[in-house]
Symmetry: C2
Subunit: 331 residues, 2 copies
């Protein structure tokens, strides 16, 4: 995909729904000219607001539909803006389940203006079913109390820290945002369900004994909509190391107001129990918390008390870095 | 799909791989004129062997590619036989992941002879993500120690028994064989993984308080390739009643020779633990065993000792019927 990007946020109702745009802006800011938001948008990728015309003038080559919400259906009132970006000379990239080319107005505009449409959620890769054989090399997987609790940010921060220490490490993207950032990977929630574990095995093949694949977790074993994806990924990833991710202010499961967040202490055993099926050596090596909604004092207190309570390093990947977790990999 | 059917078994290596053909022959024998097997086929649907020409003469309207193996890819040396059935005037129906129309020779022959191609594994239904809300009516789900251990036969036998008693019951198919038999349902392993639980919710909507949806289980929570499908289906089905299915001579997980079958006593708690997320009232009401590889004496001994050991009725759906399990639903 040609860079730089204009990030399109539409009129999504909250910050979490714009996590693709935010993820690209946070981890690849040099690729971004600005964001385009429609009236009513309650999200912010933290980059300058811009129009299609301004973005085109700044050289934007691709408009990224930078949203990721449950189900992933394209709202019809976004189509006009997408067509105008095509008319301004941009390719379009989307991480939604809906394919851009299935919207006639978008397909027609792309054909007329000779622009490309990218559906990064749809891999052209063909997968096998999982085999469960032990692979060489090391693997770390982030898992969560809920969806959208920092599983991707944690592995990206771990990759940065490990590479800075001269370790062999690679971020393995399993969601549309990660695929945008890494420019490789597979949106595992868009894979045919028979092949979830097989796709995870494909993503992280045999490697050198001291090489770490840092695999982005998906969903949560405790989420009534997405636990199947989480479990298939866990089996296929066969992690040596697990990091539990949590957002301490969350009161209910993402998108399911009637379902409470599980307690941290109730999460370790279920994940380990299932991890043992493909890797009997799996263990938790840390806890990662997204504390940005807490005051710095409160965040520090929560991280410290969680660390003391479970005897595991507890970090915020953005606020404190992940050094203490990486120490566990090298000790 | 027009009936009657010719069942095509190809040259599959074992009986389990022909379970679609066998399932149709066992549960809908009145729809079947015979089976067509290639040299080297190690399976038998228990119906007369026939050629394409003989089947056409007996009035076969559709040839069903009646196999279901891991991954579901169409072997290229089957294409000639499929084309000859089209040339003999039959439509073709398949439960493989590969679409019939993606094989150029098959697509060309179907177009030339104006025949229909059915890919029953591919639903045209659009699903939502799971919501986890409690639905009205009752639900039973079969779960397994492994794949291919009688989960479908158990619910079909339960449906037969319950309807004979005048109860309100309906078989809900979740695999290609079940969809052939029921002529409705969804092949849940072919659904995009984000929508596994949502598809199960769609399959079994609100119903009368005394109506039982009998939902065909898939895979196994203990299978390294397919546990994600199993878990998503469990959450979406929100079963009130669970029946554990088992094949007592199996020594390793289907297709994974390095992985042993779990012990029965280790299966109940993991299934219940996950079932509670969407239905805190879930409970096991019976055990179903496929004992056809045992002698009648040995089968009787195993069923009786398992029943005594776990305090649950233990049936073979074909050999003993499922009456004792249905008794638990009415008591």
């Amino acid at each position: 995909m040609d860079k730089p990007y204009l990030l399109f946020l539409g009129d999504v109702p909250d910050q979490l729904a714009a996590k693709t745009a935010r993820g690209i802006a946070d981890w690849r800011p040099e690729w971004v000219v600005g964001q385009l938001r429609l009236p009513g948008c309650n999200a912010d990728a933290g980059v300058p607001d811009t129009t299609v015309a301004e973005a085109a003038q700044k050289g934007a080559r691709t408009m990224v539909v930078g949203v990721a919400f449950s189900g992933g259906v394209m709202p019809s009132h976004w189509v006009g803006t997408i067509v105008s970006a095509i008319e301004a000379g941009m390719d379009i990239a989307s991480g939604l389940h809906d394919r851009l080319g299935d919207v006639p107005e978008i397909a027609d505009a792309a054909a007329k203006h000779d622009r490309k449409l990218y559906d990064v959620r749809h891999s052209t890769q063909r997968f096998s079913t999982g085999k469960g054989h032990k692979r060489t090399g090391k693997r770390l997987l982030t898992v969560g109390t809920d969806c959208s609790v920092g599983k991707k940010y944690t592995v990206l921060a771990l990759e940065r820290e490990m590479l800075a220490r001269g370790m062999k490490a690679r971020f393995c993207a399993t969601g549309q945002t990660g695929v945008f950032i890494a420019e490789r990977g597979v949106a595992i929630d868009a894979v045919i369900s028979d092949f979830i574990a097989g796709a995870a095995e494909w993503l992280s093949p045999d490697n050198e004994p001291d090489h770490w694949d840092l695999i982005e977790g998906q969903g949560s074993l405790f989420h009534a909509a997405f636990a199947g994806v989480t479990l298939g990924l866990l089996h296929g990833a066969q992690p040596d190391a697990l990091v539990l991710c949590h957002e301490p202010t969350r009161t209910h499961m993402r998108g399911l107001k009637h379902m409470p967040i599980p307690k941290l202490e109730d999460c370790f055993e279920p994940y380990l129990h299932h991890a043992y099926l493909t890797n009997p050596e799996a263990k938790f090596i840390g806890i990662s918390m997204d504390t940005h909604l807490l005051s710095p004092t409160e965040a520090e207190r929560v991280l410290k008390s969680t660390e003391d309570r479970f005897g595991l390093p507890c970090c915020d990947p953005l606020a404190t870095g992940t050094g203490a977790i990486v120490d566990r990999l090298t000790s």
